[in-house]
Amino acid sequence: MEKSIDEINRRIRDGSARVVTADEMPDIVSELGEEGALREVDVVTTGTFGAMCSSGAFLNFGHAEPPIKMERIWLNDVEAYGGIAAVDTYIGATNKSVTRMESYGGAHVIEDFISGKAIELRAQSSGSDCYPRRSITTELRLEDLNQAIMVNPRNAYQRYDAAVNTSEDTLYTYMGTLLPHNANVTFSGAGTLNPICNDPNLRLIGSGVPILLGGAQGMVIGEGTQHSSAGSFATLMTTADMADMNTDFLRAAIMHRYGPTLYLGVGIPLPVLDIETVRRTAVQDSDIMVSIRDYGVPSRSRPVISQVSYAELKSGTIELNNEEIKTSSLSSFRRAKMVANTLKRWVEDGQMTLCLPTRYIDTSKQAKPMRETRKVILVQEIMQRKVVTIKEGQDITEAARKLLRGETNHLPVLNEQGRLTGVITTFDIAKAVARPERKVRVQDIMTRNVITTQADEPIDIAAQKLDHHRISALPVVDAQNQCIAILHASDLGKLFKPGGGRP
């Protein structure tokens, strides 16, 4: 048996369509069988609610008098794109405010517009005969704009790898706070309710298909950026009118030390056309597997620690190396259900009918990494190979002398085998002098937990270490933990000098 989309739409219009949410399907199928479920259910609604960084909106402000072609634009001090004349712009969710970096961004501008607040627009122009005006400052509400059309390049990831941190430091990432030594796991997505998990071959989801986006009725534009269907990481590009959105399904957020992002509700109603649809929408949390990746490794290819299902992740704890580890969702399953339930009501009430894609999304695509034509600068290119060191057992007055003579603030401390065991700074010496409780040898006052770098580490990672630990130098060690050089924060300045940083 098969059902046509017209037949399903006819039932939606006359109010007789049977609509269920995707999390109800496994039970329905096990009760009625696949054929029975196909006869019984016309539409399955899906939903997810979580951080979708690659989101934003096209805005048109209307023309000013005298008119301006805006070239640099700020909305509540968040810069928006100025390359699309004349009073059009695109505001991206993750852009930070230039005045409130840590607490406000593009996502907040979008949320404030939707909740009816006035937003300050500032713009500059170089002026032209047709657009003479050079600057403008005004306050605008959503209703003052001609258009506010959300167009999100990458939404509704099919699934997303979970995150863990094997390093010794707490990390603050777009996957939330990751405690050291695998102390927690964070994950994203709604599992069984996730739109693409219920249509992994993209037979029903494609261009033109109606969706819920931020509480508004919108549609799928087509494949999203970084769409990687071949690896089961499909994404969607989506759109809807901001005027129809509400804050139940759209919230600005701040990921600590990462920045602003937009939490969005996205849901897609799926017409139950055939057995294949029934089978796919019967997907359960236990069927959807993701990798747990180590964010302690600051590389594009973060090592996979383990595989888990959404069922395990949602249970609150998972087992890793025989230890129980607490999990945190970053997406809201409660709001994901609200998305699916709202779509269900829309379809039941005949407010939304369905259609098949006008263009299908390529399911064989695999996202590529960036092609890089220039060499990444490594620590070895700017580190100082002449490094003054001291032995653990030496007197601190000797350390003080070396610090003075070497005109440095950091002395790497070596043990008898020449391995790095600590570091001593002018501050440590000053402390020891101020509180002379018989601390006379280097090993009594040195810092033992030394943050180090390696000669072949990219300079940006070393710079992040300096920043993260608020320190000003990193001993450079080799594989045997021998101190071969030192990298000072001030060495980073070499990169900005003409001809600097390259041997």
Binding site: G176, T186, I254, H256, Y263, S328, S332, R335, K337
Partner: protein, 127 residues
């Protein structure tokens, strides 16, 4: 009841002294010694001994603040994601059967970890 105690006289064992003087058993939830901000302890005392203990601590030179509640949860801002659940050392946060966030503030030791970990600024200290 939780008391936030700032210890001024570093050489005196104030908490031990108060336990000895009052006979009230004091549980130290969290203690911090910081070069810039001095020594601070979060202690838990039985509700009925709260006034007695705080008065005695004050007389020994400590600053004492009585904390009526733990972490404050703003239900308007919260979207029930659960980012706070795994980073809390005291299992203050959990989901009910409808995936709504439950907050047991009595367990809270005000470590503040969840405040920065909440993407929606829904958690704050009430004191």
């Amino acid at each position: 009841m939780k008391l936030l105690v700032r210890l001024i006289h570093e050489s005196k064992p104030i908490i031990a002294q108060v336990v000895k003087d009052t006979g009230v058993l004091i549980n130290v939830d969290r203690a911090r010694s910081d070069a810039h901000e001095g020594e601070e302890a979060l202690v838990d005392v039985p509700d009925e001994s709260c006034i007695l203990v705080s008065e005695r601590m004050r007389s020994l030179g400590a600053e004492v603040r009585i904390l009526e509640e733990g972490i404050r949860h703003d239900e308007e801002e919260c979207v029930d994601c659960g980012a706070c659940i795994s980073i809390c050392p005291k299992k203050v946060f959990s989901f009910d059967k409808d995936w709504k966030l439950q907050v047991e503030t009595k367990k809270c030791i005000l470590c503040g970890r969840c405040i920065i970990s909440c993407p929606h600024a829904a958690l704050s200290l009430s004191y």
